[in-house]
């Protein structure tokens, strides 16, 4: 039995330093309070990331390995059958996570570097540069991005690089708008003025004074933009002008196996095959949306309309 002090000293209690919670501890507390939808979203997203990272270990066959039976049925050797030239669908689904998500992630990162950087510069500068950037963004946003992407792809051809660059540039317009809008409110703060007066360079002001203060909306936007970019790339690949074979990708897998759907009456599994990659896309988008929703709620203190 340990000794408990019988006297009470107010001074001791006041003097006891309250331990500051660590970053990990704080996020754990936030997580415990998260609603079930956010938990679902987080688990799904981490599962996707896991599959994407360890694709070569998880997949039973090679990405472009061809087997003798095209459109094979679901059985032990091929869990979800084979596609139109005899590639294992399960394997391609796993590699698809890596390719589709990887390309979407790179595109989103690039669009945030372009859009976020220019948005910050426009918010700080507020002169002719801001005018030029904002007006050109207005024009770019007047064209539906899928249509614009189709037009540019017809000119530059459908390679992964041109896909990433085109979509990143088109998407950066939206990032630019948001960054500029939230940064403008921060730029007028006194501490930014102080930084300017002590002679900091624009790069420092952007990175150290403004960026940390506009992070929460940007992170939420990153999630939303990611799922949007992801859907756009999937749609383009589905249309046959996005990621090109033999690279496994969910959008083009839907297209390649679409004809199987007519056999659903005879074999429901065959009918479901083209829906698997489509469902993989939908599930990830839903999950990301759930997480973003929760993040927005906790970071902005927004409550449901009452």
């Amino acid at each position: 039995m340990s000794q408990t002090p019988e006297t009470y000293s107010a001074a001791a209690e006041v003097a006891a330093v309250r331990k500051r919670r660590g970053r990990f501890e704080r996020s754990w507390i936030a997580l415990k309070k998260a609603p079930i939808s956010a938990w679902f979203g987080l688990i799904v997203v981490s599962a996707y990331v896991f599959v994407a990272l360890f694709a070569p270990l998880l997949a039973p066959y090679g990405e472009a390995e061809i087997f003798p039976t095209p459109f094979g049925p679901w059985d032990e050797t091929h869990r979800f059958g084979t596609d139109q030239i005899g590639r294992d669908i399960f394997t391609r689904l796993i590699y698809g996570a890596r390719n589709t998500m990887g390309i979407a992630l790179m595109t989103t990162l690039l669009s945030f570097i372009i859009g976020g950087g220019l948005g910050l510069v426009a918010a700080i500068n507020r002169s002719w540069l801001d005018q030029i950037l904002s007006r050109s963004v207005d024009v770019l946003m007047a064209i539906p991005s899928l249509i614009f992407a189709l037009m540019l792809l017809s000119i530059f051809g459908s390679t992964v690089t041109s896909l990433i660059v085109i979509i990143a540039v088109l998407d950066s317009t939206r990032v630019f708008r948001l960054t500029r809008a939230v940064a403008i409110n921060v730029v007028v703060m006194d501490y930014v003025e102080a930084a300017r007066l002590r002679g900091e360079k624009i790069g420092w002001i952007m990175r150290r004074e403004i960026l940390p203060n506009i992070m929460p909306p940007l992170i939420a936007e990153f999630g939303l933009r990611f799922s949007f970019v992801f859907l756009t790339i999937a749609a383009l690949s589905f249309l046959g002008v996005g990621i090109q074979p033999p690279t496994a990708d969910w959008g083009s897998m839907v297209r390649e196996n679409a004809s199987l759907i007519q056999f659903a009456q005879y074999d429901i599994k065959a009918g479901l095959t083209p829906l698997l990659p489509a469902a993989a896309i939908a599930l990830l988008t839903v999950a990301v949306n759930f997480v973003v929703d929760w993040f927005l709620h906790t970071s902005s203190g927004l409550r449901d309309e009452h």
Binding site: A142, I143, L152, L239, I261, A264, V286
Partner: protein, 339 residues
């Protein structure tokens, strides 16, 4: 500027609305102009050897030169642009690249000829969708706001949230699986032509129209609900409630008139969104519309056709957004009754 000031003097009351609308219209025309310039200049971004690519390896230097002359590549860009705008305004979009051969036999067709019937098909599909989707979305949004937080509201909300996050082709294939393959009610291919009768045509486009409806109803319904619920917090609604007005009276008589502006905006915005959604859905259902034509032309790198399609799509998009903005301005009570 002078004209606008004259207007200001003559109709003093309408001035703020008219001025805003004129400003917005001017901005819209300017946007259209710049967008057309961007779309036009895309052809000059083509790699230098595309003459050979289009005409084939066997093309002689003369045919390639003649081809370039036909496209006007020997003239300076601004002149070409004005020529192009003039001919587009007359409905002439140039000639398709496909069907050309080095042999000199030119089987290519004019772009306008290719697009004409397909544009009608697309407009028909979009029209049918809009006729179904808009009243449905308004009804769902209104009733969800009326019975807020009820089971009905929650289930409608959950359903729309799910359809929002799904790609169009997923919705489309689920519908095909259910309604065309397992229970064959509707055909899975929407292959219509000019001779198809109206009833048969409607039956064939049932699935594409349903897909598009599901996708856009979700968004419109949520915005309608949000617009009304947003208003329910304002003091004059509280006043009406304290006066003893019933729930439906409050919503229909007091909230709805003020909610029209955001609702109209979101409807126009979603119809503009239809323009994009139609591309994917047309490809899924092999519907002979302009979206499918555009995708085919992108694959074949048939730039004149792509340009024409892009111009039509972008134009529709800009005009619909412009209409949405103008409706928003016109129905804004604060602008209508200036202090």
């Amino acid at each position: 500027m002078v004209a606008r000031q004259g207007l200001r003097r003559k109709r003093n009351i309408l001035h703020p609305v008219l001025a805003t609308i004129l400003k917005r219209l001017g901005l819209g025309v300017a946007t259209l102009f710049v967008v057309s310039a961007i779309i036009f200049s895309s052809i000059s971004l083509l790699p230098g050897d595309f003459g050979e690519a289009v005409l084939g390896q066997a093309a002689t230097e003369e045919t390639v030169a003649a081809f370039r002359r036909e496209l006007g590549l020997d003239k300076p860009a601004p002149v070409r642009y004005l020529d192009w705008v003039a001919s587009v305004l007359k409905g002439d979009f140039g000639t398709s690249f496909s069907g050309r051969a080095a042999s000199g036999v030119d089987r290519s067709r004019s772009v306008a000829e290719l697009i004409g019937p397909r544009l009608k098909n697309t407009l028909f599909l979009a029209g049918v969708t809009a006729v179904i989707a808009v009243p449905l979305a308004l009804f769902l949004g209104l009733t969800a706001a009326l019975y807020r937080n009820s089971f009905y509201d929650r289930s409608v909300n959950a359903m729309t949230l799910t359809t929002i996050s799904m790609p169009e082709f997923f919705v489309a294939y689920i519908l095909i699986l259910l309604l065309a393959s397992l229970w064959p009610v509707f055909p899975s291919l929407a292959n219509v032509d000019a001779s198809t009768e109206l009833a048969e045509r409607l039956r064939r486009i049932a699935l594409p129209a349903l897909t598009l409806t599901l996708v856009i109803v979700a968004h419109m319904m949520r915005m309608t609900r949000a617009a009304i619920i947003n208003l329910l917090a304002s003091p004059y609604i509280e006043m009406a409630r304290l006066k003893g007005a019933t729930r439906s009276e409050v919503i229909l008589k007091h909230a709805l008139p003020n909610a029209w502006a955001p609702i109209a905006t979101v409807i126009a915005f979603n119809l503009a969104y239809l323009v994009v959604g139609v591309v994917v859905v047309e490809v899924v259902f092999v519907y002979p519309g302009i979206g499918q034509l555009m995708v085919d032309s992108v694959t074949a790198r048939d730039t004149p056709v792509v340009q024409a399609c892009a111009l039509i799509f972008a134009g529709t998009y800009i005009v619909l957004n412009l209409i949405a903005d103008i409706i928003g301005i016109v129905t804004n009570p604060r602008l209508l009754h200036p202090r």
